[in-house]
C-alpha cells in the first residue's frame, strides 16, 4: 500500500454562533485507504467533511492536500483539488437526467455534447463496475441508482478523494455490498475514501483506519485491524456501553390489530399497498423491513387513518377502523409516532416548545376556549425527568434539541397517552448509538406492558435483534413474515428484493 498522505487537516476549529462544532481537530487520509469517521450525532463529523468540501470554511486551522496548504473557500476549490463529496441527502436535480446531473458544474464547453457524454459515462461506469442508464431521469430512480449517479459525478470529475456521508443509511444489504466493492476498487486505484457511518459492522468490514470524534474533538485514530466494535463504541460514547439489544419474551400474546387484504392506491394510480394482510399482537414488536418507499409509509398512515384505504379491512378489537378519522383512532388507543426523514415533519412542530407540542395531542380533551397549559407543563417536566431529555427548559423550541432528544420528546408524548398499539417509523434514523439504545429500551418497556408495537426500521441487524417477527414489504406487497430468531440478513435481503418466502410463517397463537 502506498503511504503518501493525501489530506491532512490540522487544528481545525469551527463555530456556529455559540456552538463549538469542531475544536482543534487533526485528521489525515493516505492514498489507497478507506478511512472511517465515527462519532455520535453532533460530534462534528459532517461539519468537518463540509469544510473539506468547501461548503463551510474553518474559523482556524489549516488543510493540506498532497502536502500543499490550501484554502477551500467554496465547493469549486474543493472540486479543483480533487475532492468529491457524496452528501447524506443527495444533491441531485430530480427533474434532470443522470448525465445532466453528472456534468452540472463543468466549465469546459459551451454546448452540451449529448452523445459523446453518454459514451464517456458508460466508459467510466464499466471501469468501476457501475450500472447506469445515462438518460434516465433521477425521479424515476431507486435510492441505490441515485447514489450511483452521485458516485459517477465524482468519478467523472476525476476526483481522487471521495467523501461519503452515511452512504448506506438508505441502501439494501445487497446494494451496500455493491457499494463497498466499488469503494475497494477506488481504493486499489489509489484514491482516498472517507466514509461516515453509524454502523460499526460496516466500519469493521470496509475501512483500513478509523478516526473517532466526540463532542467536536478527535478522540483517537486507530487501525481497523487492531480494534473491535466494542472498543470503538466506548471511544465514541466516552464510557463503556453494552452493545446487545434485548429481546424480551412476553407471554400474553393476543391478536389486537388485524390487517386484512388492504390495498391503497396513490395519486398516480400506483398500488402502494397491494393486498397486505397480517396480525399485530399485544406484547410483541413486529418489525417491518423493506427498501425505502416499499409501502411502509402508506401502511402506517392507513392504520392511523391518515391514508384513504381503497379496499380491505383493518380490524381493531372486532371493529373495522377503515374510514374513521385520525381523532377517533387515537381515542381508541392506536398511537403513531411517525418519524419521517426530517424527524420534525409530521410528529412535532419544530418552532414550538415541548409544552405546546404535548398539548397538540390532548387539546381536544380540554374544556373551554382558552388552553390550560398547566397539566402539559407538569407532563413536560415529568418527561424530561423520566427520559433524561437534555434541554435548557420546557419552553425551549424543540428544533434546537439534538436528534435523540427530539425523538424522546416524540416517543414520550405517545407513550404517555397509554396506547394499546404503537406505530414507530424509523425511530432511530440518524441517531447515534447511545440515543438509539435508549429508544430500544423504551420500546421494550412498552412491550412488557402489553403494547403491540409495529416497528418500521432500516437497519436489519437491529430488526433481527429487537423484533419478535419481521414482515417484509416489496413494492407494496408482503413478501414474507418470518420469526426474527430463525432468519438472517441474507434471507431478509432476498425478500426485500421481491422473492417470496412463506414457509417460516407461524400460525397466530391466540
Amino acid at each position: 500500500m502506498n503511504t503518501n498522505t493525501l489530506i491532512k487537516m490540522e487544528n481545525i476549529t469551527k463555530r456556529f454562533g455559540t456552538v463549538l462544532a469542531n475544536k482543534n481537530i487533526n485528521f489525515s487520509v493516505k492514498q489507497g485507504e478507506i478511512h472511517a469517521l465515527l462519532g455520535e450525532n453532533g460530534a462534528g463529523k459532517s461539519t468537518l467533511m463540509n469544510m473539506l468540501s468547501g461548503i463551510y470554511t474553518p474559523d482556524s486551522g489549516s488543510i493540506f492536500i498532497r502536502d500543499q496548504k490550501v484554502r477551500l473557500s467554496s465547493p469549486r476549490h474543493a472540486i479543483a483539488a480533487g475532492i468529491g463529496m457524496i452528501h447524506q441527502h443527495f444533491k441531485l436535480v430530480e427533474a434532470l437526467s443522470a448525465k445532466e446531473n453528472v456534468i452540472a458544474g463543468e466549465k469546459k464547453q459551451f454546448f452540451l455534447h449529448s452523445k459523446k457524454l453518454s459514451a464517456r459515462i458508460k466508459e467510466i461506469s464499466q471501469s468501476f463496475g457501475l450500472e447506469l442508464d445515462p438518460d434516465k431521469k433521477i425521479y424515476t430512480m431507486s435510492v441505490g441508482e441515485k447514489q450511483t449517479v452521485e458516485i459517477l459525478k465524482v468519478l467523472y470529475r476525476g476526483a481522487d478523494i471521495l467523501i461519503l456521508d452515511e452512504p448506506t443509511a438508505v441502501l439494501t444489504a445487497q446494494e451496500t455490498v455493491q457499494l463497498f466493492s466499488i469503494l475497494r476498487k477506488m481504493k486499489n486505484a489509489g484514491c482516498g475514501v472517507i466514509i461516515i457511518t453509524h454502523k460499526l459492522h460496516e466500519v469493521m468490514e470496509v475501512s483500513d483506519r478509523v478516526t473517532v470524534l466526540r463532542k467536536g474533538e478527535t478522540v483517537a485514530t486507530v487501525c481497523t485491524k487492531e480494534t473491535t466494535p466494542k472498543a470503538l463504541t466506548d471511544l465514541m460514547v466516552g464510557r463503556s456501553v453494552d452493545l446487545s439489544i434485548q429481546r424480551i419474551e412476553t407471554t400474553h400474546k393476543q391478536s389486537i390489530l388485524e390487517i386484512k387484504e388492504v390495498t391503497v392506491v396513490d395519486e398516480e394510480k400506483v398500488k402502494v399497498l397491494n393486498n397486505v394482510s397480517f396480525t399485530l399482537r399485544t406484547g410483541e414488536i413486529l418489525g417491518v423491513a423493506g427498501v425505502a418507499g416499499s409501502g411502509q409509509k402508506a401502511l402506517c398512515e392507513a392504520i392511523a387513518g391518515l391514508q384513504k384505504v381503497n379496499s380491505g379491512k383493518i380490524i381493531y378489537e372486532e371493529e373495522d377502523i377503515v374510514g374513521k378519522t385520525p381523532k377517533e383512532i387515537i381515542q381508541k388507543g392506536i398511537s403513531m409516532s411517525f418519524i419521517p426523514e426530517d424527524r420534525l415533519g409530521m410528529g412535532l412542530v419544530a418552532s414550538m416548545d415541548m409544552v405546546d407540542n404535548l398539548i397538540l395531542k390532548e387539546y381536544q380533551n380540554q374544556k373551554g376556549f382558552v388552553l390550560d397549559r398547566k397539566p402539559a407543563q407538569k407532563k413536560a417536566e415529568h418527561l424530561i425527568h423520566k427520559l433524561n431529555i437534555q434541554t435548557p427548559g420546557i419552553h425551549h423550541p424543540v428544533r434546537q434539541l439534538s436528534g435523540g432528544n427530539i425523538q424522546k420528546v416524540l416517543l414520550g408524548r405517545e407513550i404517555d397517552l397509554n396506547p394499546r398499539v404503537l406505530i414507530t417509523v424509523y425511530p432511530v434514523r440518524g441517531l447515534d448509538v447511545g440515543s438509539s439504545y435508549m429508544i430500544y429500551d423504551l420500546l421494550n418497556e412498552q412491550k412488557m406492558l402489553g403494547v403491540a408495537i409495529l416497528y418500521v426500521g432500516e437497519d436489519l441487524d437491529v430488526l433481527l435483534e429487537l423484533c419478535d417477527r419481521i414482515l417484509v414489504l416489496c413494492d407494496g406487497r408482503v413478501t414474507g413474515i418470518v420469526e426474527a430468531h430463525s432468519t438472517n440478513k441474507e434471507q431478509l435481503g432476498f425478500m426485500m428484493a421481491g422473492e417470496e418466502q412463506w414457509e417460516q410463517e407461524v400460525e397466530v397463537v391466540d
Binding site: 474543493a78 472540486i79 444533491k91 436535480v93 445532466e100 452540472a104 458544474g105 459551451f110
Partner: protein
C-alpha cells in the same frame, strides 16, 4: 382575409407578453419568483419612451428600456439574493414601485406621441421568402422588427437553456441550489445574472407597448399584462418555445373583444374584456391539477438559498 389580419394582430398584441414571459421564465428558471413583472414593464415603458423622444434613436430607446427593467430587477435581486428577503413580498413591492415610478416620470409625457423617425423604424417589414409563404407569411413574417426580435429571443433562450452548459447550470440552480453549489456553480452569480437579464426583457416588453403598440404615452400602459405574463410562464411550462405559442394565444384573447365589436354581438363588451383574465385563472387551475415533475416549475422557486443553513 379577416381571419388572417386577426391572427397577425394577435401576434402583435402577444409581443409585449412574449418579452415579459421570456424574461420571467429566465428569472424563474434560476429560482427567483419575481412578481414584479408589471412594475419592470412599466419602468421599461416609460424610460424607453422618454429616451425615444429625447434622442429620436430607436436603439438608445431600447437600451434605456432594458436598463430600466434591469434596474428594477437589481433592486429585487439585492433584496432577495443578497439579503434573502421574501421573494413574493419583494416582487409585489417592485410592482407598486414600478407603477409609481412610471406615473411620476410620465406626468409630462401624457399626450406625447412617438417621433415619426422612430415610427418608420418600427414599421412592419416583409421578410424575403418567409413573408411570401401563404397565410403563415402574412401572419408571422410581415411584422415589425420588434416582433422578429421576440422570435429570435425565444429561440436563443430555448437553445441556451436546453443545449448549453450554462443553461444546464441555470436549471440546476433553480431546481436545487444546494446541488449547484456542491457542484461548484456560483449560485448567487447565476441568480443575479438571470434575474437582471430577465428584468431587461420585461423592460423591452413594456417599451414595445409605449413605443410601437400604442404608440404614445398613456398612464398604466401595461394594464395588467405583467400579471398575464406571470401566468403565461406556468401555461408555457417554463419552456421558451411554448411561450411563443402562449403569447400569441393570449394576444388573440386581448384583441378579440375589439374585433368582435364589428359584428354587433349582444354580449357585453366588459365580459369579452374579461377573457384573458378568465383564461389566466383557468390556466392556473389546470396547472395545479396537472402534477408532473418534468413540466412543473423549478423546485427551488421562491426559496432564498443560504449555504451554511443548518
Amino acid at each position: 382575409m379577416a381571419l388572417i389580419s386577426f391572427f397577425a394582430a394577435a401576434v402583435v398584441a402577444g409581443t409585449p407578453l412574449l418579452f415579459a414571459t421570456l424574461g420571467e421564465i429566465l428569472t424563474e428558471k434560476s429560482g427567483n419568483l419575481n412578481l414584479g413583472v408589471e412594475g419592470m414593464m412599466l419602468m421599461g415603458a416609460v424610460v424607453g419612451f422618454q429616451v425615444g423622444i429625447m434622442t429620436q434613436n430607436p436603439y438608445l430607446a431600447l437600451i434605456g428600456a432594458m436598463g430600466a427593467g434591469g434596474l428594477g430587477a437589481i433592486i429585487y435581486g439585492f433584496l432577495t439574493i443578497t439579503l434573502r428577503a421574501n421573494q413574493v413580498v419583494t416582487g409585489l413591492s417592485l410592482t407598486i414601485f414600478g407603477a409609481g415610478f412610471a406615473n411620476y416620470m410620465g406626468q409630462k409625457l401624457i399626450g406625447q406621441v412617438v417621433p415619426e423617425s422612430m415610427k418608420i423604424f418600427f414599421r412592419p417589414v416583409s421578410l424575403p421568402v418567409l413573408g411570401d409563404i401563404p397565410y403563415i407569411g402574412a401572419i408571422f413574417f410581415r411584422q415589425d422588427p420588434f416582433v422578429y426580435l421576440g422570435y429570435i429571443t425565444a429561440i436563443v433562450l430555448g437553445i441556451y437553456l436546453y443545449h448549453t452548459q450554462y443553461g444546464l447550470h441555470v436549471r440546476v440552480v433553480g431546481e436545487n441550489p444546494g446541488a449547484a453549489d456542491a457542484s461548484g456553480v456560483s449560485v448567487s452569480m447565476y441568480k443575479y445574472i438571470h434575474c437582471v437579464v430577465g428584468g431587461a426583457l420585461c423592460g423591452l416588453g413594456g417599451a414595445y407597448l409605449s413605443l410601437v403598440y400604442v404608440p404614445a404615452w398613456q398612464e398604466n400602459v401595461t394594464a395588467g399584462r405583467g400579471w398575464i405574463a406571470v401566468a403565461l410562464v406556468i401555461f408555457a411550462a417554463w419552456n421558451p418555445y411554448k411561450a411563443l405559442i402562449g403569447a400569441c394565444f393570449f394576444g388573440g384573447l386581448d384583441i378579440v373583444g375589439f374585433r368582435l365589436q364589428a359584428f354587433d354581438l349582444k354580449i357585453s363588451q366588459y365580459i369579452i374584456n374579461m377573457l384573458p383574465y378568465i383564461v389566466t385563472i383557468c390556466v392556473l387551475i389546470i396547472a395545479s391539477v396537472r402534477k408532473s415533475k418534468e413540466y412543473g416549475g423549478p423546485k427551488g422557486l421562491g426559496i432564498p438559498y443560504f449555504r451554511e443553513e443548518r
